[in-house]
Symmetry: C2
Subunit: 371 residues, 2 copies
Amino acid sequence: MQSFNPPVRTLMGPGPSDVHPRILSAMARPTIGHLDPAFVGMMDEVKTMLKHAFQTENAMTMPVSAPGSAGMETCFANLVEPGDKVVVCINGVFGMRMKENVERAGGVCVEVHDDWGKAVSPEKVEETLAANADAKILAFVHAETSTGACSDAKTLCEIARKHDCLTIVDAVTSLGGVELRVDEWGIDAIYSGTQKCLSCTPGLSPVSFSEKALDKVRNRKTKVQSWFLDLNLVMGYWGQGAKRAYHHTAPINALYALHESLVMLHEEGLENAWARHKSMHDKLKAGLEEMGIGFVVDEDIRLPQLNSVWIPEGVDDAAVRSELLNTYNLEIGAGLGDFAGKVWRIGLMGFSAKEENVLFCLSALKKVLNK
Amino acid sequence: MQSFNPPVRTLMGPGPSDVHPRILSAMARPTIGHLDPAFVGMMDEVKTMLKHAFQTENAMTMPVSAPGSAGMETCFANLVEPGDKVVVCINGVFGMRMKENVERAGGVCVEVHDDWGKAVSPEKVEETLAANADAKILAFVHAETSTGACSDAKTLCEIARKHDCLTIVDAVTSLGGVELRVDEWGIDAIYSGTQKCLSCTPGLSPVSFSEKALDKVRNRKTKVQSWFLDLNLVMGYWGQGAKRAYHHTAPINALYALHESLVMLHEEGLENAWARHKSMHDKLKAGLEEMGIGFVVDEDIRLPQLNSVWIPEGVDDAAVRSELLNTYNLEIGAGLGDFAGKVWRIGLMGFSAKEENVLFCLSALKKVLNK
């Protein structure tokens, strides 16, 4: 067995995105102990910077020590008690995964369906909550990574509040890429991933919980089914002050990387990062349209960082993606689920959202498609 | 906010251990996609090398994308069905954590207690299994990180088999540090961590499951309560062949690091690594005894990689550890639970198990204790 030297790719799929060399090099800094005072200081900085990225004052804002799927499970396993009715909006793969999470936590799932590529319909949510007065939680995906559609989180949260429901929001692909305001919009529980618009390596899941959400966790009648993800325990390690109770060994070096990516986000400015994603999308869109390639998602609800486009007729999906990967070291994403074979997903996330990538991707696609 | 530059410590606590520069630098290699053919090839190598490290042919041998506690939960959440009776051996912190896991999975826990610092008693296990004919699983910790005691996994597994029980074994601190033979000893489910004797960064949990264990998972009457840790789904991503079904985004760079640490283990040879841990322990022991510092655990069941020693009378635990950390950048471990304030845990794990560290640790301790 030999050391593994990965090829140098350009990552323009649905994530991971290209990771800035500063972040990779932060990851390789010397490991220290997970209870080292120097490490505890760094944890506090990560929390502070995450709060800013989420636009929240929630004290319970921290990265779960595992990928986005575990962040999702942290929200559902802690907030859903057996028998709780949860309204789940499904307009792509990740809404379906939310349903799985509700059921495995013993909850009762009421589904609101919208077509793939469409946003969650506030009208349907309103109707469903009105018809289910005993619903306790509304769950939806802000930025559907499987389709590239952005739902109106602010309006959906307003509706949920009106019906006395907590909200669980998937922001895996939105954090750092498009407008997201946890406090202003009244989101109660939110999870994201590090490998999308934060441009960090995959493996951590930033989450944030409102006091209202934490009250529900604190007052559960049954223990959270997961020991590893139980917020009552995790809070003891990620809590305030210098005293940290050992819970699990934090992924030290991965947290160095997240810290560095958040420093870079601060240096750029959150709103500037949102604007950059939008402006790169505009450039990519112009080039794709010139090639006659059309978008799946309507412009008003389109995520700039996740561009789902129809594969031109007669084009062999897998062959094109292989040629891009093998000849140009360029990764673009395949379609998931209903969109498999029909759609490409071109990511412009974090460090990948730059003009060099846009120009390169357009030229490589032109070559391979003989346009 | 500034970039975080950690102090350079010598890590001789209960883990993380010192990480070799080769492993840190592997971690900083360019991120590629989690479905990239090059990545899938690397995953297969990780599996092959982990099988060797565990001394098993189990096809289902792979790293869980989260720390050791999540590896523990993977075993219990998949193997314990509601109502299942599980005999749990408790001789330290991690046996207690196993009990928590059993109960949260809906199992019924029967406890076998041994004193902290002692090995699990095969006689008590035999008695308990004889008295609980309906028990389905025996769970115990091979190497108790909270005390430094090693239990006789081979004998315990024999007893379990005689009573038709599956076994779940915690090998977080033993893998790579002391003899461990999954197939020969007949272990059904085992989990470890990367940050101990593998000398890798924390964040992943290597696990392995026998066919008998997987049969129980496949034939469950209820779904595994965790979506993230459900082996039925994880197998689709870590399974055989080139086809991998997307489950969650793997922590790419952390896996580079694990790959490199396993390459290094192969280069050294597994049995050589075991012997090195033993020989470093002998050197440390000689020095400590010269200073009049005594061991908590009897020599015949003592883990060479985790040295629990009694804090000399009249010595201020926290003050000594602080001085070691602040003056010499040397981390040794505090006592956990019953041992808090009474015991130090000096780790000699992986890259930390070398003569430089032994000599340095002894000299620094002598200075601080004025011996």
